[in-house]
């Protein structure tokens, strides 16, 4: 009996141990997609799940009058990753402030602002303010005295006012230290009360360079709208948002602190109505001595659970190619790393360079939107070299480019802007007065110019080119299309360059498909054609005319010393005159490299030019100051991603503010003109739809060529419509979106189909990796739009099913071993006629026997999981068995 019990107990023990080794982990539960937007009213009456996080409002407080109408809405609050969400604020006070700058100009601003911070933890805790990431410095007012709004709203002593935002700002002694408490519980002091130490511990965890706090002015209508970049635990581990193992898990909060007109406490650093600063309140939102924190609105955010990433140290399979694939590639790259433990790396380069490198053998796989044929390479390649490469293609994504923008005025954020090809042509050619060199040169030169400078010696010839329209938003053509869009910003267009690109070539084809744009690019005024009667008669900037055009001339400038207001003289560029007093002109205009005239109206251009050579400023501020041209006013962005970032920050990259500094060569340097003020910002940028979507930037609707009032946006369906019209290139199986002129009115003209081109010279193992990539890219996950790892990001459009099948066939072909000579001859005979055939019979017949691609499994920890537990359990059981066995197997007394 006892032995039976003992045996049973041991078995039960073993079983329980094994069962108890059940592994944690499994696929993270997928959250349901759908609208997760949230609106919170400051006064209350919100849904209980949201209201519980809001502090009680005191109707007798001086703040109540400011915020009683305040509402905040956030467009997405669940399934968050590292992305951008849009926040709309309405109902703030719409008061204004009047500021007189040192130059004597008077400016009126909305004087209120809001601060948005990402926080972790328990919003009902008394010291929740310690859990928020702050520290942004934004919106330097280049017109008002040089002050960053963030400086005024930072914790600690305001002695940092007027200085550049070095870390020393945090360490000057102030009245209070408000530490940041990380999700681990550790607190990081600002060092505000410690004047001895140089270090501010809070800079260990975030700084102005990587905080996501937004400090946003509110318009005179009491409203504003802005984008907020959410940070997962991967981007900001000290908040821990999304890390299931952190104290906050997948729950975090967007805390918005409105900054109005009043304060209930009158304390140092918590004051209001600063007369010479562009905001009404001073003081930090998280300073408990000020009473601003009590006005907060708390919006709950739910993040997707983060997963462990790939382990570093392994080899990566490298690919090159067009930047248009970057966003999709990053998503696929993340999924393949986690599921198949295959790491890839992507190097984006100029489109043509990637194809060149495929042919030269420097790379074995390139993403391209054009086939690898002589037309699309940098130099002549003989057919044999090309054939030897045995390049095969698989379509992997549909991407597009366009014009992203930020357009705000007085608290309103305009997200629907329509542009015609001619308007885009005007932007690309510096044809607006304020965007052109000659237009900028008109102004009475330099801050130090004497009034006598406005003399006939200084003035430009009356026959010199000028534009009757100052800027995009005052263009009658723009106003007619966008009657409800009221902006006061300049609306410059950030260009990418100097690299040529297939997408830029496509943009020019789009413009050239439109009669009105073509006429403008050829030199015609914009009010000559039917329906243009109310336009202003703008003509193109002469620098962009074809050389030899009768209007392609500009005044020649010579340097003369003219009188300054201070009484001295300064070198100044004045129009040159010949001996008879006539102005001297220089012939300008675009040419091909052969010197022939180049008309943007029909040339096969694949770059965005900066052709205006006017030098500015005309009168120098200090002797030795080098002059600049428009390429310093709107410098090239070196990539589409960089262009999108400039638009997001409303900073065109302009560096035209001269700072005299005798210790520097040339006596000084140009510094950045800073971000545009948010409530009057207007900036456009040529970028990819995916980059714009990543930063939640709206994109302009583009008019269909020659169809007035018919517009198309870069939506998924419009991109799909462009793909429907695909036509075959010179390479069988490689299709392209036709030029804009051949597309339907519902198709987005700047759509491109991205292929992966693989060289036959790649080794088998590498080819299998490429096959894995292609198979994943065209899998259901890889072609579904969403933000989960592996999905196609917003801004792309899914491939049509036949193209996915084509890609899978190509991937299957890649899995065939070719390292042996037998296989090589087989594939080479099939490919002899056309090295890029993807639909050949040979490919089809081997596809059937090819190894099926794996579908990615749900992601799991690389280390933990069933195996370790099972091993442990088995170990335990076996030792237990060995230990107990002799006891059970002991000799028993046998009674006779």
């Amino acid at each position: 009996m006892r032995s039976r019990i003992a045996r049973a107990a041991t078995s039960a023990l073993a079983c329980c141990l094994l069962a108890g080794m059940g592994f944690a982990g499994g696929a993270p539960t997928a959250k349901a997609a759908g609208s997760s937007s949230v609106t919170v009213s400051w006064t209350g009456g919100n849904a209980a799940s949201v209201q519980k996080y809001q502090p009680t409002r005191d109707s007798s407080s001086s703040h109540y009058a400011d915020f009683k109408y305040l509402k905040v809405s956030v467009d997405q609050t669940s399934d968050l990753v590292d992305q951008t969400i849009t926040v709309n604020v309405t109902g703030m006070p719409g008061n204004t402030k009047t500021i007189t700058s040192t130059g004597g100009s008077v400016f009126e601003f909305g004087s209120d602002f809001v601060q948005a911070m990402q926080c972790w933890g328990d919003p009902t805790a008394a010291d929740f303010y310690k859990n928020c990431q702050w520290g942004a410095f934004e919106y330097e007012s280049s017109n008002a005295p040089s002050v960053l709004i963030g400086e005024e709203a930072g914790v600690g002593n305001a002695n940092g006012r007027g200085t550049t935002y070095t870390k020393s700002y945090f360490t000057k002694s102030g009245e209070l230290d408000v530490p940041f408490r990380a999700v681990s519980g550790k607190q990081y002091s600002t060092g505000a009360t410690d004047s001895t130490s140089r270090d501010a511990p809070i800079l260990d965890v975030f700084s102005a360079a990587n905080t996501n706090e937004r400090t946003v002015p509110v318009g005179t209508n009491g409203a504003t709208s802005f984008e907020f970049e959410t940070q997962t635990a991967a981007a900001q581990p000290y908040l821990g948002c999304g890390n299931p193992k952190s104290a906050t898990g997948t729950s975090c909060y967007l805390v918005l602190v409105p900054r109005g007109e009043h304060n209930s406490t009158s304390r140092q650093y918590c004051t209001t109505n600063l007369s010479d600063y562009p905001v009404a309140q001073q003081g930090s939102p998280v300073n408990p001595n000020c009473d601003y924190w009590g006005n907060r609105i708390v919006v709950p955010l739910s993040f997707r659970a983060t997963t462990d990433s790939c382990s570093a140290g392994g080899n990566e399979v490298g690919l090159v190619g067009t930047e248009l694939i970057q966003g999709a590639f990053e998503s696929w790259q993340k999924a393949l790393c986690r599921s198949k433990k295959e790491a890839f790396s992507f190097t984006s380069s100029a489109d043509r360079v990637a194809r060149d490198q495929l042919v030269s053998g420097q790379s074995n796989a390139a993403f391209t939107m054009r086939p690898v044929t002589a037309d699309y390479l940098s130099s002549t390649v003989d057919d044999q070299t090309l054939a030897d490469r045995k390049i095969t293609y698989a379509p992997v994504a549909v991407a597009s480019v366009g014009i992203a923008f930020v357009g705000n005025y007085s608290g309103n954020s305009f997200t629907d802007v329509k542009l015609t090809p001619r308007l885009i042509a005007k932007l690309l050619t510096n044809s607006y007065e304020w965007e052109s060199g000659l237009g900028k040169a008109k102004g009475v030169g330099g801050a130090g110019a004497a009034s006598s400078v406005a003399t006939s010696e200084y003035a430009l010839p009356s026959t010199a080119w000028q534009s009757p329209v100052r800027t995009l938003r005052t263009d009658p053509e723009f106003i007619a299309l966008n009657p409800d869009v009221h902006l006061i910003g300049s609306g410059s267009l950030v260009l990418v360059g100097p690299n040529p690109s297939d997408s830029i070539a496509q943009l020019w084809r789009y413009l050239q498909a439109d009669d009105k744009a073509r006429a403008f690019l050829a030199g015609d005024a914009d009010n000559l054609l039917a329906g243009d009667g109310s336009n202003a008669g703008m003509t193109i900037n002469p620098y962009y005319l074809p050389k030899g055009h009768k209007n392609a001339k500009v005044p020649v400038f010579v340097e003369k010393k003219l009188a300054t207001a201070a009484g001295g003289t300064m070198p100044t560029l004045v129009p040159d005159r010949d001996s008879s007093g006539d102005y001297v002109w220089e012939k300008v205009g675009l040419t091909t490299s052969s010197g022939a005239a180049l008309c943007l109206c029909d040339a096969g251009v694949d770059t965005l030019n900066q052709a205006d050579q006017t030098l500015l400023p005309r009168m120098l501020d200090t002797a030795g100051q080098p002059r600049y041209d428009l390429s310093q006013v709107v410098p090239y962005a070196s990539s589409y991603a960089a262009a999108a970032t400039r638009v997001f920050r409303v900073d065109s990259g302009s560096k035209t503010t001269w700072e005299a500094n005798a210790s520097l060569p040339n006596g000084g340097s140009y510094r950045s003109d800073g971000q545009q003020r948010w409530t009057s910002a207007f900036l456009n940028g040529f970028t990819t739809t995916a980059d714009a979507a990543r930063l939640a930037l709206p994109m302009a609707q583009l008019q269909v060529p020659n169809q007035t009032r018919v517009f198309v946006s870069p939506t998924q369906s419009a991109m799909a419509a462009a793909v429907t019209a695909r036509s075959e290139s010179t390479v069988s199986g490689f299709v392209q979106v036709p030029n804009a002129g051949s597309l339907s009115a519902t198709a987005y003209p700047l759509t491109g189909i991205v292929y992966l081109a693989v060289s036959g010279k790649a080794r088998d193992a590498t080819r299998r990796s490429y096959a894995d990539l292609v198979d994943f890219a065209v899998s259901d996950t890889g072609q579904s739009i969403g933000s989960a790892i592996g999905q196609l990001p917003e801004g792309y459009s899914p491939l049509p099913a036949p193209m996915r099948t084509q890609a899978k066939k190509m991937a299957a072909q890649l899995r065939i071993a070719t390292d042996t000579s037998a296989a090589t001859t087989q594939s080479s005979t099939a490919a002899a006629a056309n090295p890029a055939t993807v639909n050949s019979a040979a490919a089809a017949s081997v596809a059937a026997g090819a190894q099926a691609a794996d579908t990615p499994v749900a992601t799991q920890d690389a280390i933990s999981g069933p195996p370790s537990f099972v091993v442990g359990g088995a170990l335990l059981t076996s030792v237990a068995g060995l230990a107990v066995g002799p006891y059970l197997m002991r000799r028993r007394r046998i009674y006779p």
């Binding site: 140290g313 990566e316 399979v317 890839f344 043509r352 360079v353 690389a862």
Partner: protein, 541 residues
Amino acid sequence: MTMTARIVRAWPRLLATVISMAVLAVGISGLANVSQAVADTVHSPIVGSGSTWSANALQTWIRNVWANYQWKITYSESGSTIGRTDFANGTADFGVSEIPYAIANSNEQDSRPNRKYAYMPIVAGGTAFMYNLVIGGKKVSNLRLSGETVAKIFTGVISRWDDPAIKADNPSLALPSIPIVPVVRSDGSGATAQVSIWLRQMYPKYWDAYCGKVGRAPVNGHCGVTSNYPTVAGSGFVSRSGSNGVAGYVAQSHSVGAITFVEYSYALNAGFPVAKLLNAAGYYTEPTAQNVAVALLKAKINENENSADYLTQNLASVYTDSDKRSYPLSSYSYIILPTALEDGFTNDKGVTLADFGAYFLCEGQQSAEVLGYSPLPINLVKAGQKQIQKIPGGNPAIKGIAGCNNPTFSSDGSNKLAKTAPYPPECDKQGATQCATGTGGAKESTAQSGSGTDAASQSGTAVGADGTAGAATGAGVGGITSGQQVSGTPQSIPQARLTTTAYASMAAAGALLLGFSVAPPLLRTRGRHTWFRRDGWRKRR
């Protein structure tokens, strides 16, 4: 025998069983904690600042490590001078610069920071002379320049393209009589510093005279090394900010006649040619990855670990290298690593920085060539890996050469890239013959226009083991030279970081397994003896 008695007899075994189970339970949880231990390592985001010369490489690596490994790095490209300043005053966690602090013979004040640091090379490359020239309606792509000619151009001694010095370098070109527009950097630039070091050493006659022209006092007897290229007002020089700015200027169609110095990657991607530079062997070469690798075999690296300039480069012998393939203006770019917990640098930031550094010394170098740079050789990688050890908190996956997937490595320790670098064709030799093949991002050949001999049918040749050039093969005009890039097979092995508890538990488990397997047979022997002796049995009881 009573139950109590049995238990008393068996208690050593029972006790051992209980203990072993307890130890194993700890061991199991130790295994469970393996993943926890990995997850507990916090990769704090880091911020870097500096060079635009190496920005193309850095931004590529930064995107890839974020996607694959979730390390968050932000890099701001504001030029080497600002990079050194930002690191010194603590606003950046790392800086990137072509030149070290307090470089010798500097025209500008640039003192070493109080902050503790170490240098580590990140990538090699060539400072290229990108130009825009048209002859007979066709873009020129095969321009050649001697170093002296370049010095004359950038110090204003030569101002027209048909100057006899340029003609002498280019016998097959009918150079136009148009002004040269030298384009230089307006911001504090490491590329400027590199060029000024080269000018000062190699062509002091012109460089010193230039200081006189721009009113700069000599430093230690010669015109100083500078990060701010001086220009004479009205001289026709143009200055632009950033590598992209100078490249952007030269790339405009109206900029015919312009020439600038910029990292090769920019010219390549802009689709523009670069001048072949005359080396000490009498050949004109362009800064391909291979030619740079060859040249840098002659770089003298400061190997004094106690020096503040440990691992920085002395390129004096690179400029004068007499290997036919060498590109004279080859150099490394450096990252400035923090080696102490100060100025906001933490162990968690060290985890990220060390991982990032270890990544780009090895795997990251695979993309150097396609980007337009040259990968680092093994001696610099080894030294760099030792520098990474100085980063507080760092614990990178790859600490040594084993598993380091750098494309220059070979089994005999030589630089594979340098060893297999093709020798230049004879038409690249200084003399009456000039190669027609294109360069940089302009691969199209240039037809002969001058009176010299064109060698359009010659192409690059493979190198033999003893360095002799193989027979020239007529591969056709403008053929793209091939260089096979070897890709490694992807291997990704998750690493477990085990705690001591886990190790102890596993050792105990092993010992117990062994013990319990062996013990019973040994113990049973005695029992058997007892068993078979009936009387004895009774006695034992």
